[in-house]
Symmetry: C2
Subunit: 205 residues, 2 copies
DNA sequence: TAATTTCTGTACCGAACGATACAACTAGTT
DNA sequence: AACTAGTTGTATCGTTCGGTACAGAAATTA
């Protein structure tokens, strides 16, 4: 990540960038999202981002750094909705909402389809062990947040005492990821919502 | 697929192959399964298969042909268990069984982890449109089989009349694929089975 | 205006990619 | 034994890969 230069900390000094940092990162994300890590070549990336190679390297480091940055950006972009869903008074309603928000994003024609994180997960076999560790850490954080919310639900009496929160969180994780793949296969948002209706029946009574 | 030569139709004529056709195909499948289509280089493949490039090309065509052959083999290998599960008198028990068999395969340490078909699905963005069509066709076949079994269940009275068999099939497809990704993330078979317990609660009453 | 700083564009690097030409080799056929 | 069909190993093809050196362009600073 050395040499990576974030947006201006002070005033710009030399020649100004001819592109927007975050916009370029978003575009890169979509390329990786569509083609996977290995399938996305630097030419694919620079063409889509509208910048040339040296600019990319000076700004984002190398390909792996860029990929990691897009992953972090993806997490960051969805963190707000994620937190909002889980802050709902009812854990059940929050979980339902989370799945439905995900369905919207996964099936949105504005996106490449499915879940970027799924794509990254399948792509990371050829990645550095450092990046694999990073991804595992992100995944663990996601799971932990889910478990935390469910534990609060048990404490609140919304879930029966003795409920295995890890098992329940894992179940919803399965559904979550399944929705992403199903969306990738072309399912519409309505179809995903109907699947969520059924998935929510798994909630303990 | 031109130039592809299947196992001996007549008696072998020239110099005999120094490797087993199906064994080599299995090995290739595992390489693709682990690394994805783009992530698997010909060197990765030939090294693992224990054959050299010209033998690979003479026997399996090019890289894309080989990939397609491994996909077909994967489908063929699982077709038996698949059909057996769905031939159960109870559609519900059959579906349950299908998911559990899948969980075993997805989490088996003998396999690369997860579902090869999932991996292929994410890899196919860079593939030929011909191969994408082929994959869509395979997926549609899977779905149609599921729907067919559920329709029979409606006719048998196992499912309430008016049940949307396509919606139900899609739900189980979501769970199925989710299990694959969860396994890839390292979940054990027991953990997957507990997720299936919850998923089966989505079955209409 | 001169000096300095930063970014852009071209042109290229060595390495790895998918794919083959070709000769040596090994079997069955005659 | 001579011939033919098919496989194997080596050595290589042209292309694309990720990554960079370097000169010129565009801004701020003095």
């Amino acid at each position: 990540m050395k040499g990576t230069k974030q947006p201006p900390t002070d005033v710009a000094r030399g020649r100004p960038k001819a592109f927007d940092y975050e916009e370029a990162l978003d575009t890169a994300m979509r390329v990786f999202w569509t083609r996977g890590y290995d399938g996305a070549s630097l030419t694919n990336l620079t063409d889509a981002m509208g910048i040339n190679r040296p600019s990319l390297y000076a700004t984002f480091g190398n390909k792996e750094d860029l990929f990691q940055l897009t992953l972090e950006r993806y997490a960051q972009q969805n963190a707000t909705v994620f937190a909002e869903c889980l802050s709902h008074v009812s854990a059940r309603a929050g979980m339902d909402r989370l799945l439905r928000e995900a369905a919207e994003a996964f099936a949105s024609p504005a996106n490449p389809g499915g879940c970027f994180w799924n794509q990254a997960l399948m792509s990371c076999a050829t990645a550095t062990s450092k990046m694999q560790r990073h991804m595992k850490k992100m995944a663990a954080g996601f799971d932990a947040t889910l478990v935390g919310r469910l534990e609060r639900a048990v404490a609140d009496g919304e879930l029966p005492p003795g409920t295995s929160t890890t098992d329940l969180a894992r179940y919803f994780s399965v559904v979550f990821q399944g929705l992403g793949l199903q969306a990738r296969r072309g399912s519409t948002r309505d179809e995903l919502h109907r699947a969520i209706d059924m998935a929510m029946r798994g909630w303990p009574t």
